[in-house]
Symmetry: C2
Subunit: 381 residues, 2 copies
């Protein structure tokens, strides 16, 4: 047997961060990158330049020596890719039967209902009348979403009337993305439960985290979620493990949850390493990136125990500087672990993150935010 | 300013393990590898194939965009390389003024004497008579060494008479390696003190470790060294910090020490990441590989605090299997962190290591050794 080859579709920071554990485990990581300037391009062991919609690029990705498995760092994988994998005899993990629930929010909500898992009130929207009826029944304001293609707050809109959604409704009626509407959940905060599952069935969960969002984008993650009751933490982990098992997910699954006064409600699913799990690189015995590789190769999963009482991850959301340096943050805090993604800086774009481990949630949070701010803006605190 | 480029001479596992922190810090790692099959070749961001003795290869390593600094993963760096770096205006770190003490054991012993640091009895050996005189004065048995080129027990021989050293003495008299002889130290165990120093002077030390050797090769490392008195630990760290400062070392320095009933004696110096520091990848806030990059770039050094009460590293010394897999070890111990070096397996060759963190030295040691054995031999325990 030769060393395993894992093919990854998508050349962003998630593929980039799969590389270190791949190197350690003797796995060759072959990444389909959009360009040779992609975040993962310089880090990957082998690269194929192309888009997942390009059959030639997929053919090169699957060429001999054939990968042992194909996986993804985002959900926007055309059905043709699954056919190509099947034809080449290379397993695709997670498979389309699972991934479609992360690709399509209508399918996801319907499946959660079938499983009796906690959804908000929701319905598919085929017309202005559908939307108006839902608004009338649900307090007059709701969350309209495109079923596919959204991320980081894109494809999501708060609406109080069908008029405000005319463009999306028209587009949808003319072959554009299908729409769904969800009740606005009166949540107190957002949580995420992350789990890994391998094809042979083993499942492991990480501690449940709090995810702090600004303008629809994850800003910081605190692990474990402060002051979360043991009962709710266990419930969140059970929900994540149940979804992974019932949907046949292979690899890492993140379940984003709303915490309300009454309990938990499922927000979104991501079937890949996820921003809410970056803390695991320093904060857990096994990182989400290593675990994803182990899971898709059907290797035994690693221990998910935390390494410190508290770990906080703060995203570096691009500012006005053209080039980032971690050294300023390091100067201010020798314990800050800086991760730069090698991406061009645009305002609000995720261009890196910082992780700090500690013993106190508030202090550790303040350190992580301060270090991420320094990476973004330059200069020592 | 563009992202920094660090050039590394040597394509073994030490350069390979510099890659993950380089990726995280947005540093481009350009590695001079002996072949495209070298351990570091697939992991490095850029590779130049060639030997450090080849001026063309060095020219390509230093070509534009010029690296910000050149460093090494071994000490066997010809003086010509330093001249080429100077001509190109690229700093070499550690510089020759420091590195020569790691390259040449006679220079090292003489310098330690000058600094009043704890040497064994020793002398340079220019003739059989020199050696016989030393043996007569030092109990009849001693350690003969070549001044240059030794590693992992090579270039070291226990002798009781000059006859046993005839080949080396003859070679030395005919332009071969110079020789030195050292008293056999009645040590109870071996320790290592690791330290990093940046050009602007900042120094940070890691906890002092115990290094267990078999047949002259490091087998396991326990951090911190069990039952080491606080006084001796502090002394070992002071010795390492003093050597780093007095010799002007930039980068990571490992000082191997003998512990005796009476105190500590310096064994060897390594001016690069070292096997005794592999435990820092999982066991310390800042790994030796990240710290070396920060130090040679003159960036602020990272926190060296341990992350767990005990960390044990066990080397995988090659057996008879042609291909190693970490998955067996992972099956037996979900907390074992496996590092494979992508090297061909030869008996006794360092082909990987396993790290386990825990709370109890003996249990953690047993787990690490068991996992390393499984990686070497295959099959679950």
């Amino acid at each position: 047997m030769t060393p395993p080859i894992v093919a990854v579709i998508g050349g962003g920071q998630l593929a980039r961060m799969m590389t270190p554990p791949a190197t350690a485990l003797g796995i060759t990581l072959r990444v389909l990158v959009e360009s040779d300037q992609a975040s993962a391009a310089c880090a990957a062991h082998e690269t194929v330049v192309g888009l997942p919609t390009d059959p030639d690029a997929i053919e090169r990705l699957l060429a001999a020596p054939r990968p042992d498995v194909v996986t993804w760092e985002h959900e926007h994988i055309p059905a043709d890719v699954f056919e190509a994998c099947e034809k080449a005899g290379v397993p695709a993990r997670p498979g389309l039967e699972a991934l479609r629930f992360a690709q399509d929010k209508i399918q996801m909500r319907a499946r959660m209902d079938e499983l009796g898992l906690p959804n908000p009130a929701w319905r598919e929207v085929r017309s202005a009348a559908d939307l108006e009826a839902f608004l009338a029944d649900n307090g007059g304001t709701a969350v309209l979403k495109t079923a596919r293609g959204g991320y980081d707050g894109k494809g999501v809109r708060i609406v109080s009337s069908a008029v405000e959604a005319k463009d999306w409704l028209d587009a949808s009626a003319n072959g554009g993305p299908r729409l769904l509407v969800e009740a606005k959940v009166p949540f107190t905060r957002e949580l995420a439960a992350q789990v890994a599952r391998r094809p042979s069935g083993e499942v492991r969960t990480w501690p449940v985290v709090e995810s702090i969002q600004r303008d629809g984008v994850c800003s910081e993650v605190i692990s474990p979620a402060p002051q979360l009751s043991a009962e709710r933490a266990a419930l969140a982990q059970e929900v994540a493990a149940r979804i992974a098992t019932e949907l046949g997910v292979t690899g890492v699954l993140a379940v984003e949850l709303f915490e309300t006064a009454d309990g938990l409600i499922i927000n979104e699913l991501a079937m890949r390493p996820h921003n809410s799990g970056h803390w695991t690189i320093e904060g857990s015995v096994t990182s989400q990136f290593e675990q994803h590789l182990r899971a898709v190769l059907d290797l035994p999963l690693g221990d998910t125990a935390p390494l410190a009482p508290v770990t906080v991850m703060a995203n570096v959301l691009g500012g006005s500087r053209s080039h980032l340096e971690g050294s300023h943050a390091e100067a201010a805090d020798a314990g800050a672990k800086v991760h730069l993604y090698g991406k061009g800086v645009r305002p609000g774009r995720k261009v890196g993150h910082v992780t700090v481990t500690g013993t106190d949630s508030e202090q550790t949070y303040a350190r992580a935010v301060a270090a991420a701010t320094i990476v973004r803006d330059g200069g020592a605190a």
